[in-house]
């Protein structure tokens, strides 16, 4: 009852023989050893495990790794490129969008996908977009500000782009 899978995470392929029941979040954390994606519940309620699967935010605790065979996953570890923080990371830093940090990777991955389709969101739209990600520390106020910060930075970067380096891995998987 094991299966061979190849799952690409942040541009790097990981091959393994795994049980069908292995949750994607455990594949990410324990086969690929990327522990930035966290587990906060067992009823698909908290979103701490959010990653991007082929660019779509997913609760990786509610997917089996076998379902992601051949897929491209983006996790928090892939946000920083060439030593430069992603605008969402910068936003959370500048606006104090995290305290204990446990929900933060999931929160940021949801936000990254959201901002791609909503580059100029209202606060209400942001709150709706992150309503599948629970935070116990921040009361969400600064998380909304962090995402707005990132949105603005991304709009400004778009308007006056700096000389582009190689396409980021995060973009390549969408």
């Amino acid at each position: 009852m094991t299966q061979h899978v190849t799952i690409t995470i942040n541009g790097q392929p990981f091959e393994a023989d795994i049980e069908s029941r292995l949750l994607l979040v455990h594949f990410i954390r324990e086969v690929a050893n990327l522990t930035g994606t966290h587990i906060g519940c067992d009823t698909t309620s908290c979103g701490a495990c959010t990653v991007l699967v082929n660019g779509t935010p997913a609760k990786s605790c509610t997917l089996f790794a076998v379902q992601a065979d051949g897929a491209e996953i983006s996790t928090v570890e892939g946000l920083e490129q060439g030593g430069k923080l992603h605008p969402i990371q910068e936003g959370f830093f500048e606006e104090h969008g995290l305290q204990c940090g446990f929900c933060t990777p999931g929160m940021m991955m949801t936000s990254v996908a959201f901002l791609k389709d909503h580059p100029n969101p209202t606060d209400e739209e942001i709150r709706r977009a992150i309503s599948g990600n629970l935070c116990r520390c921040t009361g969400y106020v600064n998380i909304v500000k962090s995402i707005q910060y990132a949105a603005k930075k991304m709009r400004d970067d778009q308007a006056a782009p700096t000389p582009a380096p190689a396409v980021t891995e995060a973009e390549a998987v969408r």
Partner: protein, 784 residues
């Protein structure tokens, strides 16, 4: 080196957080991230019954599963004298039961396996034969003479644990007898759950060669745990190392020693392998981290003009099957006697009786600074009840009864000496910010049209920073805290403290304290804590105590360094140290700003060019015994609108004015308030843990226990006043829990206020839509 304030990054500056570097990159080190060589996994078999005899445990099938290494039961622990352990309240608690379970989800056996998934399979294969016993669920019935005993192991054959009281019963009764007005109210503050997003867990690793036990643990109080471990296991304390790595939220839930930690430690000692144990959310929600559960009867005596005179409170505290709350030892009901609140009262009498029931241990100090949430909820509801009875505005009643600003330090009717406060200023600020008068006008207009809106006020006094050694200890260990600072030759420093962040930003704020005191840039200061091998002994972080105790120790240690530095400064400036003064983060010759040296200069000299009468090096340690607690306070005003068709309550606006004295980092304080307000709203509107008559928990996962998302959480509006603490080295108070304390009554008061014209005088939390709708229907104002 620049010594301007921006470069130093000291007190009062919203410095961005140093710890974010790793969290933003997914490089935090939480318990479940640890992977030690040879590590195995532990999972726990739990009782489905609230009360039962264990007839047998058959682990044969589990042990036959490839990968299962061991199954540990109570009998195994009993042989080593470890089936029971002491609690922080001098009760004892089963680690694993030998023959009886006393709450649903109680740990019954542990499976050790090579893989996480195999351990889970092993748990499903352990067969336990239970014989159910009648459970004790109602705390009032638990005190009846014919109630089954939850704890037959105790000498006293009763479910009554202890009785505690404070204040002056005789004087209080006397005032009540002749008072113009007496208002009475029963309140129930339900059991709730901490629900930090990270659950509890540990990796226990016993090194057979060194004879050393290292435990990475989700703990807010590593040193105290180490000492207790040593006393219980007999392993010498220098051979135990507790490490709190990054913790995904604590809020008080990660203070107690949970059976899982002890079982994992035993498993590691017996197998010689590192053992990881991490709870599922369902386990966490069913077995640990419970708080509140107070049944309260309160009475307030007053004059007919609204002057409050006396408060009388009786309380039944449902502690579950073990008194495993984390309170200072002389305070089984925590700091509940702060219940006289922000008001002058001639007298008060408070009684609490603790009782055992067949529920998991409760009474964790969940962001409440030891029962202050319960106390504040009571007094703030009573003030509104009085106002309603006398048809006075609740803001006016508060202003009339506030302890005046010039009365501090103020000795309360239950014996606390409040250090400082200015309640009228805070309330006025909140009222102005929210346009209180305008809201009352709007309410009158809306009422005339049949629309329901309410305004609720909460003006709370918190009591934090436990605490002075003359009164406070946990299991005998006094509640000082500590800081050790070492400055390196090239002017950077390492700071180690005895408290333990779980998101409060200590790596930044404590660096800011040292930056301020020593004039070294905050970026050049590293703060470490959580490793008992290196950090000085402290009592940990909970009850908003870090800034009041360890923060003070940090300032005092810094000042010891400055004292020594002054001598080196004199040496460098070639004047007597008495002719040197500390100005603008520099030592200068008195009155001669041009002739100065920085702490960086001093640091180098401390290793290369120090006077003969001082030692080399530049370091200090301080163990700070606070002379008193600190008393942060606030004024919160909440506006709600009620949907007459569904009873749903929506918070339209919430203004929070907080005073925590001098502020280290305003950005971080704001963040604490936002989070605390959300954690205060949750029990007011959403959260409660309930049990059916068989002791089955009704909310065993996040589908049933409702944590607010960004959609339910309002945009919190925060502001502040600053009333420094006169006894704290830099005038600061704690703040982490103020908002969880102040918010619930503001919301409850707002809903009652919305319905008060119908004759409603009280609503218990959580205020569910159906509670409200039933009232609307009963009064003929429900829509639909």
């Amino acid at each position: 080196m620049s010594t301007d304030a921006a470069a130093i990054g000291g007190m009062g500056r919203s410095i961005k957080r140093k710890e974010d570097a790793r969290f933003l990159r997914g490089k935090g080190r939480y318990i479940d991230d640890f992977k030690l060589p040879g590590m195995v996994y532990m999972d726990i078999v739990r009782s489905p019954y609230a009360h039962a005899t264990i007839k047998s445990i058959d682990a044969t099938k589990a042990l036959a599963l490839p990968g299962v290494l061991a199954v540990i039961t109570g009998k195994d622990l009993d042989a080593a004298g470890l089936a029971w352990m002491p609690t922080l309240m001098s009760d004892k608690q089963m680690v694993l039961p030998v023959d009886r379970v006393v709450y649903q989800a109680q740990e019954v056996a542990a499976v050790i396996a090579t893989e996480r998934y195999i351990a889970a399979d092993g748990v499903a294969l352990v067969e336990v034969d239970y014989e159910p016993l009648p459970p004790v669920i109602d705390p009032f019935k638990a005190l009846e003479p014919d109630s089954p005993l939850v704890r037959p192991d105790r000498d006293q054959k009763t479910n009554h644990i202890w009785h505690w009281e404070a204040g002056d019963a005789a004087r209080t009764d006397q005032i009540f007898q002749s008072a113009d007005v007496v208002v009475k109210q029963d309140l129930y503050i339900p059991r709730i759950h901490v629900c930090s997003i990270e659950t509890c867990g540990c990796v226990a690793s016993f090194d057979k060669v060194e004879g050393k036990l290292t435990i990475y643990m989700t703990t807010q109080a590593p040193h105290a745990i180490r000492t207790v471990y040593s006393l219980v296991t007999g392993i010498p304390e220098h051979k135990i190392r507790i490490v709190s790595p990054d913790i995904g939220g604590g809020f008080g839930g990660k203070v107690p020693v949970y059976p899982g930690y002890v079982i994992a430690s035993v498993a590691s000692i017996t197998t010689g392998l590192p053992v990881k144990w991490i709870e599922d959310r369902s386990e966490n929600l069913q077995a640990d981290s419970f708080a509140r559960d107070y049944h309260i009867s309160a009475e307030l005596a007053a004059k007919s003009d609204g002057t409050m005179q006396a408060l009388r409170v009786k309380t039944l505290a449902d502690h579950g099957a073990f008194d495993a709350a984390a309170n200072p030892s002389k305070f089984p009901a925590g700091l509940y006697s702060i219940i006289t609140g922000s008001y002058t009262l001639e007298a008060a009498h408070v009684e609490v009786d603790g009782v055992y029931t067949n529920k998991p241990p409760g009474g964790v100090a969940y962001r409440c600074s030891f029962r202050v949430t319960e106390a504040v909820h009571t007094i703030e509801r009573m003030v509104d009840t009085l106002a309603q009875k006398l048809q006075l505005d609740p803001a006016d009643v508060r202003m009339k009864n506030f302890i005046p600003p010039d009365a501090f330090p103020y000795k309360s009717a239950t014996g606390w000496e409040y250090d400082s406060g200015n309640y009228p200023a805070a309330l006025q600020k909140a009222m102005d910010k929210i346009d209180y008068a305008g809201l009352r006008r709007e309410q009158a207009e809306k009422r005339a049209r049949g629309e329901l809106m309410g305004i609720g006020i909460s003006t709370f006094t918190e009591i934090v920073g436990a605490g002075p050694s003359h009164t406070f200890d946990i299991l005998g260990i006094k509640m000082f805290d500590s800081c050790e600072i070492r400055v390196h030759p090239t002017g950077s420093a390492i700071v180690r403290i005895g408290v333990q962040t779980q998101g409060q930003g200590h790596e930044t704020t404590f660096a800011q304290i040292v930056a301020e005191e020593l004039g070294l840039p905050v970026d050049n200061i590293t703060v470490e804590h959580g490793d008992t091998d290196t950090a000085p002994y402290g009592l940990g972080t909970y009850a908003s105590r870090s800034t009041p105790t360890a923060g003070a120790a940090t300032a005092v240690a810094s000042r010891k360094i400055r004292e020594k530095a002054k001598k080196i400064a004199g040496h460098l400036l070639e004047v007597s140290p008495d002719d040197v003064e500390w100005v603008d983060y520099k030592f200068q010759v008195k009155g001669v700003p041009g002739r100065s040296v920085t702490m960086k200069d001093i640091a180098f000299a401390a290793y290369t060019n120090f006077p003969q009468d001082v030692e080399a090096g530049l370091e200090a340690v301080d163990y700070y015994d606070p002379p008193n607690l600190t008393f942060p306070f606030g004024a919160y005003i909440c506006v709600v609108d009620i949907d007459r068709g569904t009873g749903a309550v929506k918070i339209r606006r919430f203004v929070a004015v907080d005073d925590c004295g001098n502020i280290i980092n305003p950005m971080i304080v704001d963040g604490q308030i936002h989070g605390g307000l959300t954690m205060g709203m949750a029990p007011a509107l959403f959260e409660a843990i309930t049990y059916d008559e068989d002791g089955n928990i009704q909310q065993s996962n996040f589908m049933d226990y409702l944590l607010p998302t960004a959609m339910e959480t309002p945009v919190w509006e925060t502001d502040k006043t600053v009333t420094p603490s006169p006894h704290h080295p830099f005038g600061a108070k704690g703040v982490g829990e103020s908002a969880t304390v102040g918010a619930p009554p503001a919301i409850a008061n707002a809903v009652v206020d919305a319905l008060s014209h119908l004759g409603v005088t009280h609503l218990d939390i959580p205020i569910t839509p159906w509670k409200v709708y039933a009232i609307l229907e009963a009064h003929g104002v429900a829509e639909g």
